[in-house]
């Protein structure tokens, strides 16, 4: 067999070249002068010259815009040039390469049968200053290849093709009964099981009771099932809490039960259909439909392979929504990155530069969301040095389904059906990987844990599942996520039992050991319980949409998990032990966050007020995210009523998204919003939780959501909970969540936690992320034609401040742009806030509000500036406003615009509530307050400061 190498190059300027050069420059590689990017396609086979030419011109290139050349490997060496380095990059074996698969398929389709296998890669021609050629800093190559998924070589790379190794039924027996405590811990570490001694002892006791040791399949199954990721043991732990402020010691038996679920139970909202029990939370939409919502994180995978990590994060949460039989209709993404201007030399070893993490993560979100056809309508991007080694990628998805069609009721005898993608080594042990601290070796060791998604396969799953649901062809459904089949089949069969055959599982390539098949986290798979008589009908739907269906066994009634390979049992576990046998963790927490006092006298700002406002608008947390938002398709499915960007030039940040789903009757819509604030989290986790829940609810109400119909999700991203202070802050945040839910009567319907977001640097120092809690809100608006956007509408309209205004500087963004930090507590949430939101909602619903915008990072001045940018109008604030009023941060407040003719009715709606007239909208394009006047053009320029320097 011969390997042919095709090189494809744009005839005109390839915009990728400039992009690479800019990234290199931004990271300080200034000796790089030019980059040329050439795509490589490797084809193995026996082909005639005529066939090679057809492949090149008909399949592999666009003759109008691209030139193509081909050679046999080994390619003749290119003549050496003193100033040039040639770098070739190709995927590592086992990494999904869907383009290569399409080449093989399409070649046969055009009648070229001699193509056996294919692979893809890139060639980069890097031109340097001649003088530095001999001493090229090899780290520049990291721009072009991520060693986790790619290999690189100078000059010419040998491609790797999927290997057709012999099938393997190899089973290892683990002699657990004979192991000492130390040996148990060593085993846990060696197999990257992330189990502690008590858990390992419980496994040993089970083995002794059963009178036998475990197979590797069984041990790995238990490790996945008992992982932090799958079972949330920290959130279910028995915690002894020592409060340094009150000197009291108490115990908390399960954070979930005590703080999150208890709030939902207490609120007992009749419109909540499912909370905490299913793949996603579900609430009523109207008489006909229900809507579901789930948010997850994909932090560790995104740290080692940003594109694949974010890509599969989006894919995973979409599957969660499919797991409640809903059609995915909107995505949200909240992303936290390290500061973009950190010098490469200051990063710990093994950490990818935050600029590359940002571009990779955004590209991953874009690729999956756009290709699967779900609009990305809401999100946030935050920067903090604490996220440099541990970026956070929160992915949320909303789904819609007709009522009464989703149920979880598998029957003994139902077939265990896998739908979707094939199984490979991708993503092995992802559930335990995500439960560990990362270090410099993590990227390398985790190679197998990284998955690249295939959104087109998952699009097929959507098409099949909504149709199968409508025909009631299945009795239960769940997604295959962390832990792979072991977790999906294991959980679904927990009340029953099952007997499955691993040899039936379709593989991407042969050679996988049974435990690898069972644990693989290959993407785009769903597991269904299907009555035998319905399998044929399901198969027909699958055939129409190119989705593979695999029958791997049956549910049983004996409450045992039986897994076979070629008929021979390789696992036979008692479900009671597997699902209930994990010992409750006992943890210690210390509550010790220092409470600061309000500053009595404020340091006098030494710059003009306008400078601070412009600095705030240019701060990457506040500055325009349009460059990212426009990469996401936010229009597909035709439901976007309030879009991510608002205003005359569609460049101002909306408070929340409003969606009118296709196929629903009337004018009802869905509202999506979020609240997140690590600056508060660093200082006071309890108040942070209240503040971000308040912000999520307030954002939703600002566009028109009914405050009495808002459900929320919690997503905690924290450091190592084994450190008592870290766990203490987590408890405080959870307590804040409960109090917020009760205050706003907004039940939690789902939640997730991602712990151990820490990086152990080679200097032995641990770097933890700032305590980060994302609250996502899912609301309902009765009539989308009443929705309000944040852009100013008309001059001479009046501007009011509504809500209890209590600005402080603790955790404020003013502190981030000022020369000196003003130490104060972070904002509190006032009891009056829910009443303010109810009145605001009434005012919106009565058509009194022309625009509304919440006060958040940067305070009142930033909110006013953003409204001006949105409307391309000015604002004159005549009420006296101090620096504290302008830049201090508060919860519970919004700026609203009303027509003067409605001022009396507006006053009636807000009678007895804190409200204050601040000024009016003016045609003159300036923002005026306290003897300061700032041209709108300056606000726009500052707000459009690029997120990535030098780009």
């Amino acid at each position: 067999m011969t390997i042919y190498k095709f090189s494809i190059q744009q005839k005109t300027r390839d915009p990728r070249n400039e992009g690479y050069l800019q990234s290199a420059r931004a990271l300080g590689f200034c000796q790089l002068k030019r980059v040329e990017c050439i795509d490589l396609r490797f084809i193995e086979g026996q082909l005639t010259q005529a066939e090679l030419r057809r492949l090149a011109l008909e399949l592999l290139s666009d003759p109008l815009t691209q030139s193509v050349a081909w050679d046999e490997l080994p390619a003749p060496p290119s003549p050496p040039q003193a100033d040039t380095v040639i770098l070739e990059v190709s995927l590592r074996p086992g990494v999904t390469d869907s383009v290569a698969a399409e080449i093989v398929r399409a070649a046969r389709q055009i009648g070229i049968d001699g193509v056996r296998r294919a692979a893809t890669g890139q060639r980069y021609i890097l031109r340097f200053d001649e003088s530095v050629k001999k001493s090229v800093d090899e780290s520049v190559y990291k721009l072009f290849a991520n060693s986790t998924i790619q290999r690189w070589a100078l000059e010419s790379i040998e491609p790797t093709f999927p290997e057709e190794a012999a099938s393997s039924g190899a089973i290892e027996t683990i002699p657990i009964r004979a192991l000492s405590d130390d040996e148990l811990l060593a085993l846990s570490k060696e197999r990257r099981a992330a189990l502690d001694l008590a858990e390992m002892q419980a496994i040993r006791a089970y083995c002794k009771k059963e009178g036998r040791d475990l197979s590797d399949v069984e041990f790995e199954t238990i490790a996945q099932t008992w992982s932090e990721h799958c079972v949330h043991k920290t959130f279910k732990a028995l915690i002894t809490v020592e409060d340094k402020n009150t000197q009291q010691t108490t115990t908390v038996d399960s954070i979930i039960k005590t703080y999150l679920k208890s709030a939902t139970d207490q609120i007992a909202a009749p419109w909540v259909r499912s909370a905490f029990v299913d793949n996603a939370g579900i609430i009523d939409f109207d008489d006909e439909f229900e809507i579901s919502f789930k948010a997850e994180t994909h932090n560790h995978p995104s740290a080692v392979e940003p594109f694949g990590g974010a890509n599969t994060g989006v894919g995973g949460v979409i599957r969660d929504v499919l797991g409640v039989s809903a059609k995915p209709i909107a995505n949200t993404d909240v992303l936290c990155f390290g500061k973009q201007d950190i010098p490469l030399s200051e990063l710990p070893a093994g950490v990818i530069h935050p600029q590359r993490i940002l571009s990779g993560v955004v590209a991953g979100v874009q690729d999956y969301g756009n290709k699967i056809g779900v609009p990305t309508v809401n999100g946030a991007i935050l920067f903090d040095e604490g996220y440099a080694a541990n970026p956070l990628v929160f992915c949320g998805c909303v789904g819609i389904a007709p009522k009464g069609l989703h149920h979880k009721n598998p029957q003994a005898g139902d077939r265990v059906i896998i739908l979707g993608g094939r199984t490979g080594r991708d993503g092995l042990r992802g559930a335990t990987f995500s439960s560990m601290t990362m270090d410099a070796q993590t990227g390398e060791a985790a190679g197998a844990s990284v998955q690249i998604g295939d959104p087109i396969i998952e699009k097929g799953l959507i098409d099949v599942i909504v149709r199968a649901r409508d025909l009631r062809l299945y009795n239960d459904i769940t997604d295959c996520g962390a832990g792979g089949l072991s977790s999906a089949v294991g959980e679904m069969s927990a009340p029953l039992g099952c007997d499955v055959e691993l040899k039936n599982v379709r593989l991407k390539y042969a050679g996988l050991a049974p435990w690898e098949i069972w644990l693989s986290e290959a993407q785009e798979r769903m597991v269904l319980a299907v009555a035998p008589q319905n399998v044929r009908a399901l198969q027909e739907i699958c055939d129409a949409y190119n989705v593979e269906l695999t029958d791997i066994g049956a549910f049983a009634a004996d409450r045992r998990l039986v897994v076979r390979y070629d008929g021979v049992p390789v696992a036979d576990l008692d479900n009671d032990f597997l699902h209930e046998g994990i010992p409750q963790q006992k943890l210690r927490a210390v509550i010790n966050q220092k409470k600061t006092q309000p500053a009595s006298n404020l340091p006098i700002p030494n710059l003009p007020i306008s400078d601070y406002l412009l600095r705030l608008l240019a701060h990457p947390n506040i500055a325009s995210k349009a460059s990212v938002v426009r990469l996401y398709d936010h229009e597909i499915q035709g439901g976007s009523v309030v879009k991510p960007l608002s205003g005359v030039c569609a460049d101002a940040p909306s408070d929340a998204a409003v969606i009118k789903p296709i196929g629903t009757k009337g004018m009802k819509g869905i509202v999506l919003a979020n609240g997140v604030n690590p600056e508060y989290g660093k200082r006071d986790a309890y108040r942070m939780a209240l503040a971000v829940a308040d912000e999520a609810v307030r954002n939703a109400v600002a566009v028109g959501a009914d405050p009495e119909r808002i459900a929320i999700l919690d997503n905690f991203c924290w450091g190592d909970p084994k450190r008592p202070e870290t766990l203490g802050a987590l408890l405080e945040a959870a307590r804040g969540c409960r109090d917020a839910a009760l205050l706003f009567q907004a039940p939690f319907i789902s939640g997730k936690d991602s712990l151990n977001n820490e990086y152990l640097a080679s200097d032995g120092q641990r770097r933890a992320i700032p305590p980060t809690l994302l609250i996502s809100a899912l609301g309902v608006i009765e009539d989308v034609s009443r929705a309000v956007t944040m852009d100013l509408k008309e001059s001479e309209n009046e501007i009011y401040l509504v809500g209890k205004f209590d600005p402080v500087f603790g955790g404020s963004h003013f502190n981030l742009v000022a020369d000196e930090e003003i130490c104060e507590p972070v904002p509190q949430v006032a009891d009056v806030n829910p009443r303010v939101y109810q009145s605001l909602h009434r005012a919106i619903h009565s058509g009194l509000i022309r625009s509304a915008h919440d006060l958040s990072e940067g305070g009142l001045a930033v909110a006013a500036a953003e409204m001006c940018i949105g409307g391309r109008l000015g604002m004159h604030l005549s009420a006296p406003l101090s620096a504290r009023d302008l830049f201090g941060e508060t919860t519970g407040c919004l700026l609203v615009e009303i027509s003067p003719k409605n001022s009396v009715r507006f006053a009636e709606v807000f009678a007895d509530l804190p409200v204050k007239k601040l000024g009016r909208v003016i045609a003159d394009e300036t923002l005026n307050f306290s003897e300061t006047s700032i041209p709108l053009a300056d606000l726009i320029a500052a707000f459009n400061t690029p997120l990535v320097p030098n780009s």
């Binding site: 399949l59 129409a544 996401y632 936010h634 608002s646 196929g663």
Partner: protein
């Protein structure tokens, strides 16, 4: 009877619901039919009065947007499709559907192949933003008689329409094959200026038709502007530029067949 529209779902099409909604509002009866159903003769193209190739990412854009979708059209449906076109029935390819029509040489339908293509946006990235379109061609049954500008979103990375010589440009103009162009809000030409022309297309071309005028391909998504509340400035009282008349034109034509 309402005209039946076949929306052909390729492997990776994803704006099928959107265009089905537009066609329903325009008075047609749309049916989303998967490629496999058509290939296995479970459905027949000839039974329909309209054909829609919807937006999406067929085959994940592997080997170039629309390329493998086009290969399918030519390998599996060549005769039926050409007969449908020759019968003068309305065909529209939106976004990925347009890319497939061009790469299958169904558009612009000039004598020799490979004279036109849709390539990477000039800025090298996918973009989602609203654009303004001017219906130009009076030969095209879809744009004929449309007096108002259309405002709707684009969402693509490979929508840059390019041709290989100036003679073809002249021909597209003289044969009224330029169906839609990117224009400013006042209707004046974009003259290539970003973002009015969002992708660098030659002659600001957003959509073209075949010389007969029954096959339209366009990059933007008029199917995503069929209700007032989809317009990005509806909260400012702006009500203009609906994409619905374009579909109504096609449906009206089909119902007279």
């Amino acid at each position: 009877m309402k005209p039946q529209a076949l929306i052909l779902l390729a492997y990776g099409s994803n704006r099928d619901y959107d265009v089905a909604e537009a066609l329903t509002l325009a008075g047609a009866e749309p049916r989303v039919i998967s490629h496999n159903e058509l290939r296995e003769n479970k459905k027949r193209l000839a039974d329909y009065q309209m054909l829609v190739l919807p937006g999406g990412f067929s085959y994940a854009d592997a080997l170039g947007a629309g390329k493998l979708f086009a290969l399918d059209l030519n390998s599996y449906f060549n005769e039926e499709l050409r007969a449908f076109v020759e019968a003068g029935k309305p065909v529209v390819g939106v976004c990925n559907g347009f890319q497939a029509l061009v790469k299958a040489d169904i558009l612009p339908a000039v004598e020799s192949a490979n004279q036109a293509t849709l390539t990477f946006n000039e800025r090298g990235r996918f973009e989602c933003r609203w654009v303004t379109l001017k219906p130009v061609s009076q030969t095209c049954l879809w744009t004929r008689g449309l007096e108002n500008l259309i405002e709707c979103p684009i969402a693509h990375g490979e929508g840059n329409f390019q041709i290989n010589d100036a003679a073809l440009a002249a021909r597209l103009q003289s044969q009224n094959q330029i169906a839609l162009t990117y224009v400013r809000a006042d209707g004046s030409p974009a003259d290539g200026e970003y973002p009015v022309n969002p992708n660098g297309s030659t002659l600001d071309i957003a959509g073209i038709c075949n010389p007969q005028g029954n096959v339209l391909g366009l990059m933007p998504h008029p199917e995503n502007h069929i209700r007032f509340y989809q317009h990005p400035q509806w909260t400012r009282g702006v009500k203009r530029g609906s994409g619905l008349p374009l579909f109504e034109n096609g449906v009206k034509y089909a119902s007279q067949l």
